[in-house]
């Protein structure tokens, strides 16, 4: 970009920042109090933590679509990754890193399980647990213990889409209660835990995939064995 264009963009950014600051300083008091509404309905949500109640119950539909967004992000990367083209194998991993990964990963899986369970009554839940699982997968890959991939086989695809499919199936079955995602009170907690468990696994795989697809080098022998034969 040349000088005047930079100046124009910079000026625009400064003007926007100024307008935002002026608007925030002049913030009117909100007419609707959603925090109160969440607190009032928390006992009917099936969980005790307001964030989980909003994410999985009150606005669970947004979360359902957000999971689709994440799956789609990975799908977009798979669409541009070219499994046919050539490349070079990755460098061998450091022995220190291999040992560290061996110690840390079981603990990370344990932590992910705890975060999943904790989501019902304190900060935690599927997104956090999935992120920890994904980090574990990335660590394993860096330690040379987990191959990268760019065209997942069927079992892996089931793992990637499984959490979303469970969420979608529960949403659709609950239509018989009168509306999409309308949990019956007595089963709300169990259903939310079921959805979150599925999501933890799938989100872990999807987030790890976002890294592993980029890390994939087509010609490395250990990985091409895991590739699907393309007919």
């Amino acid at each position: 970009m040349n000088g005047p264009a930079r100046l124009a963009v910079g000026g625009l950014a400064v003007a926007l920042a100024g307008a935002l600051a002026a608007a925030i300083l002049d913030l009117p008091s909100a007419a609707v109090d959603l925090r109160g509404a969440v607190a009032m309905n928390l006992s009917a949500s099936g969980v005790e933590h307001p964030v989980t109640a909003v994410l999985l119950n009150f606005r669970g539909y947004d979360t359902l679509l957000e999971i689709a967004v994440l799956l789609l992000a990975l799908l977009g990367m798979l669409a541009v990754a070219k499994p046919e083209s050539g490349g070079s194998p990755p460098a061998a991993a450091d022995p220190m890193l291999r040992t560290l990964a061996g110690v840390a990963v079981p603990l990370m899986i344990l932590a992910a399980g705890y975060l999943l369970w904790a989501g019902a009554h304190r900060p935690g839940g599927a997104f956090q647990a999935g992120a920890v699982l994904a980090a574990a997968a990335v660590l394993l890959h860096l330690a040379g213990r987990l191959p990268a991939w760019a065209s997942p086989k069927r079992m892996l695809r089931l793992g990637l889409a499984g959490g979303f499919l469970v969420f979608l199936a529960v949403s659709a079955i609950l239509l018989s209660e009168g509306a999409l995602l309308r949990y019956p009170l007595e089963h709300a907690g169990a259903l939310i835990l079921l959805i979150e468990a599925g999501l933890t696994l799938s989100l872990g795989l999807i987030l790890a995939g976002l890294f592993l697809v980029l890390a994939w080098h087509p010609a490395s022998p250990s990985e091409s064995a895991g590739e699907e034969s393309k007919s």
Binding site: A22, E66, L72, A79, V80, P152, L165
Partner: protein, 479 residues
């Protein structure tokens, strides 16, 4: 219980999400037959929903049973149902077309991406919540970017990346607006916001509306934000270009319209003239570029830039119960069908000649006459000749402009129609030239020709069934 379970409204969102995920599970480019079957069901669901809305008025579906503002409401009124009908009516023939197209051209991810794209469109048209609209818009954009990148050629990857960057910046602007609105009013429900935003709203509301509008205009590729559209739509695979030009850019236009008629109505007048001027510029500039390009799909893509301009001419003319709204929706529907037909026909022409230039078209009239007829029919709609849907839209616009004494818009509409005629005839003329002796034509599946023809015929004939559309459009939420 069974009645609630079989409600068409939520199934229009659940069904495409389900077949998209199943197509992903199957992998290897499978899922076409499932998609066609599911799209036939979706079309039936949209028709049932239209009948319900026509008979009983607008319908609200409270997801989770909470109701706004705590939960998320889905709303099916006349406007959303018309857009849903358009989406399924364009998608079903295109799916048939795409199955044949991708038997000629290899692909692995078209069906899951398309499923998510259609789910996002249906969800967007049914949404009545600012934040939920954002989520559907994200889903839509990511699916669209993935589809543009599908072929894996460097030019497609570059177009997809540019599209992604524009799209993310635009989403960011929209989301910032939503955050400001939530901060100011404490709710993101459209119905909840409408009574809260008064005739002279505070600075924060104006700023939020401006940010959201800028984001949505960039996504709709309205001039001067049109620069990403021709390479993205012109470079993608033919069925993808058709989906993007016919439906995806309409979604963000629909949001501008929905917000201008709904909660931001007190502010709509401020931006109306600007939107009209940008629309008029888009018509003239887009048509001119379409006329001067040498590549057939770039011509069709630039024509989209021009035709989107008509959609924004309605804003300076928008009056309650007036003809401008009908004109805008008619234009969206007619252009959706016509542009799907035109890109489908362009795909056939390119497969047949093996070239993407206008020069390569010489002699094609004798080889794929049905396709060329489809291209011409779609052109009739774009030019605005009677009895096409495009004619009706432009006629209503001219009528509204004359009734309000705003005659400069009339000149733009007529000039745009003449330019459209010029670029359509440029293609037809070339196609009727004698083929050079060295020309070699490839056979193309017949079903691709006929689906293109079906879409083109629908874009012309829709003008004859406009009364039902107008009646449906009149169904609003009871105040």
């Amino acid at each position: 219980m069974a009645e609630a379970f079989l409600d068409p409204l939520p199934w229009l969102i659940v069904l495409p999400l389900a077949w998209a995920s199943l197509a992903f599970l199957w992998g290897d480019g499978r899922g076409g037959r499932l998609a066609i079957a599911a799209l036939a069901v979706q079309l039936a669901l949209a028709l049932i929903l239209a009948a319900q809305v026509m008979a009983e008025g607008a319908r609200v579906h409270a997801v989770g049973g909470w109701g706004a503002p705590l939960g998320i409401d889905l709303l099916a009124d006349g406007l959303s149902v018309l857009m849903l009908l358009l989406t399924q009516a364009v998608a079903l023939p295109l799916a048939v077309y795409a199955r044949a197209y991708f038997s000629e051209v290899a692909q692995t991810h078209f069906w899951p991406l398309t499923g998510f794209l259609l789910a996002a469109l249906n969800a967007l048209f049914l949404s009545a919540d600012l934040f939920n609209l954002y989520v559907t818009l994200e889903l839509l954009s990511l699916a669209a970017v993935g589809l543009v990148a599908l072929g894996g050629k460097p030019a497609q990857a570059a177009a997809a990346l540019r599209y992604l960057l524009v799209s993310l910046t635009a989403s960011g602007a929209y989301l910032m607006g939503v955050a400001l609105i939530y901060g100011a009013y404490g709710t993101v429900s459209l119905a909840g916001l409408a009574p809260l935003i008064g005739p002279d709203p505070p600075l924060i509301t104006r700023l939020a509306a401006g940010l959201m509008l800028a984001g949505l205009l960039a996504k709709t590729a309205l001039f001067p934000f049109h620069f990403w559209l021709p390479p993205a739509h012109g470079g993608a695979a033919a069925p993808v270009s058709a989906l993007l030009s016919a439906l995806v850019v309409k979604a963000s236009f629909y949001m501008v319209l929905r917000l201008a008629l709904g909660p931001f109505a007190p502010l709509a007048e401020l931006a109306a003239l600007l939107l009209g001027v940008l629309g008029a510029t888009a018509i003239l500039w887009g048509s001119w570029r379409a006329l001067t390009t040498h590549h057939i799909k770039m011509l069709v893509a630039w024509s989209t830039v021009a035709q989107l301009g008509y959609l924004f001419l309605i804003f300076p003319l928008l009056q309650p119960g007036g003809e401008a709204l009908q004109a805008g929706v008619m234009q969206a529907v007619a252009h959706g069908l016509a542009k799907a037909a035109m890109f489908a026909a362009a795909g056939v022409l390119m497969l047949s000649t093996g070239r993407d230039t206008l020069e390569g078209l010489a002699g094609v009239a004798g080889r794929v006459p049905v396709t060329l007829f489809a291209f011409g029919l779609a052109g009739v709609t774009l030019m605005g000749l009677p009895p096409s849907g495009g004619f009706l839209a432009k006629w209503l616009l001219i009528e509204a402009a004359l009734a309000q004494g705003q005659w400069p818009w009339v000149a733009v509409i007529i000039a745009g129609g003449l330019l459209a005629a010029a670029y359509v005839f440029k293609v037809l003329r070339q196609a009727f030239l004698l083929a050079p002796a060295a020309a070699h034509f490839h056979p193309v599946p017949r079903v691709m020709e006929w689906t293109a023809f079906l879409l083109a015929a629908a874009s012309v004939l829709i003008g004859l069934r406009a009364t039902e559309g107008v009646e449906l459009l009149g169904v609003e939420v009871a105040p």
